[in-house]
Amino acid sequence: MYAYVIRKLLFSIVILFFASITIFWLVSLSGNPVTQLKLSNPRISQQDLQRITHQYGLDKPLAVQYGIWIRDIVLHGNFGLSFKQNTSVNNIIIPRIWPTVLLLGTALIVSALIAIPFGIYSAIKKYSMVDKVGTFFTFVGYSMPDFWLGLILQLVLGIYLANWAGVHIFAISGMHDPNSSGVVDLLQHLALPVMTLSVIQIANYSRFQRSAMLDVLSSDYLRTAWAKGLSKRIVYLKHALRNALIPTITVLALNIAYIAGGAPIAETIFSWPGVGFLLVDSIYKGDYNVARALLLIFAVLVVFFNLVADIAYSLVDPRVSYD
């Protein structure tokens, strides 16, 4: 067991090492920010240019630059300096983390709470009307671009509802009104981005929960449970549900990183001040050091949650082998 975990961990570190090289190299292709500085300000002196180049470490070979970058991150948690703003990348990113965690966490909880009972119900009532309609809508959910859903929610629930019906429930941009910081205000701002992120996840998890439950329902030990004359409640909730939840929980863990990847879209549409919006914004502004740091953080998240899902799976399900 420990050997299994350690091997997985080592493998993850190797993968992350290669990913970090790719990310560093890819972003370096955006060109030298100092040359761009010279283009935007032709009167800048040669000495200033040299000083700035030295300050960013851009006078060193690329491999050395990578070494310094990764060393500072691993040893000091320091992501370097911003190319466009007169501050460190850490100072730009840190205030953006909590809003994203809040948004994604809420979306994850909301979608799990809706999708799991729904998936179980449609498995028990297989091919009923509810199941068929549900199946159709999960397909629609799968096939819908999340940014379009966000746009339409913003238009219908945010703008039309306020302008035509005079109902001001949903706020369409930001995290707080300028002169308010209450919980109600926060929820009003949170509602639409959470809906945007949740609909697709609900489609995803409920399909998954349905098929996991169906697998369990047709298994031998469940037939035994029925044969013993146990009540529906006990069979479904005690015998079936426990096993049927295992794959869903794994997928939930795996999906955290995936949902985080979808954050740029929901956050950009609703100007939610999180890391996703920051990523898109830093690309628009050409602040590539911030984008580089965020890409690495996203990659770490993917690897971390993959690892957690793997280990959790092997702990929960004794049939998984550790080879």
Partner: protein
């Protein structure tokens, strides 16, 4: 003819007659199974129509895609402009048609190329095992580690995609799922007797993979390829929507929706129609994939 008159049938004739009465070829069985999946049939038909329209767009579009109607600036749907016009007086239906051309062909391109890459890697890795397997699966895990959408946003921001480059980049990033699925299938096949027999008579590894293993994994490949087409269309539209995908003036469903954002409150039609087209297309692709999966499932009973 002579044999028949004797009243004695050879074994071959019995098989032939039996075949005439009852037998169905593999293809017929698949088609019968697929036909029963109504949504997949409808999805397939709509998709074929969409692709025909995409190919014929220059001939059937009511206006040119940059043609301006000064009498209809930002007007809602009407007889002349079924999907309305944008603030420059360009016909939205025409722009949706041209945008669809880009989105649909791109989806198909990504589906084909990622399938080729993924299937090649998957078969080699599953068949040879050992170092090839470790190396290729390591590469697969590595690509899956890269955060897809953020990475695409950064690449798009740095290099400015066009329809062709975005196809390549998506194909290069979307193959790993295919290679994992194909590898899994190959692992169940490679130790079966017919592969062993082929090896025993001295068939080369390349030929075994191509002629003996590939036909047995094509089913799973087709399903995954279909789903990849839908995924590619969604990613392209998301990137173009964020302004880092296909750049105007080339219309795509994604950048039409980006345009729509400017005057969304008044010009709702600009936000609705391209989005509905994306949903219809991807929905049909997913239904088709689902139907193919059911039809090709070897465990399904006739």
């Amino acid at each position: 003819m002579v044999e028949q008159s004797t009243g004695v049938q050879t074994g071959q004739q019995v098989t032939e007659e039996y075949g005439k009465v009852k037998g169905r070829t593999q293809r017929e069985i698949l088609w019968r199974r697929f036909k029963r999946h109504k949504l997949a049939m409808i999805g397939g038909v709509i998709l074929i129509l969409l692709y025909i329209v995409a190919i014929l767009t220059p001939f059937i579009a009511p206006y040119g895609y940059a043609q301006i109607d000064f009498n209809a600036l930002a007007k809602g749907p009407s007889m002349n402009h079924p999907m309305g016009t944008d603030e420059l007086g360009r016909d939205e239906l025409t722009r949706v048609l041209y945008g669809g051309r880009v989105s649909l062909l791109l989806g198909l391109g990504v589906g084909v190329f990622s399938t080729l890459i993924g299937a090649a890697f998957g078969i080699v890795s599953g068949y040879y095992g050992r170092f090839a397997d470790v190396g290729i699966m390591g590469l697969t895990d590595y690509v899956l580690t890269l955060p897809l959408l953020p990475l695409l946003i950064v690449i798009g921001g740095i290099f400015q995609f066009n329809a062709l480059t975005i196809t390549w980049v998506l194909a290069i990033l979307l193959w790993p799922t295919m290679s994992r699925i194909v590898r899994g299938q190959v692992l169940t096949i490679r130790d079966q007797e017919f592969v062993l027999a082929a090896k025993a008579v001295g068939v080369s590894g390349f030929r075994i993979m191509l002629r003996h293993i590939l036909p047995n994994v094509v089913g799973a490949m087709v399903v995954q390829a279909t789903l990849t087409v839908g995924l590619a269309i969604l990613y392209e539209s998301a990137l173009s929507f964020l302004g880092v995908g296909i750049q105007p003036p080339t219309p795509s469903w994604g950048n039409l929706l980006q345009d729509a954002q400017t005057n969304m409150t008044s010009d709702w039609w600009l936000a609705v129609f391209p989005g509905v087209m994306i949903i219809i297309t991807v929905l049909c692709v997913n239904f088709l994939g689902d139907g193919l999966r059911d039809a090709l499932d070897p465990k399904a009973v006739e």
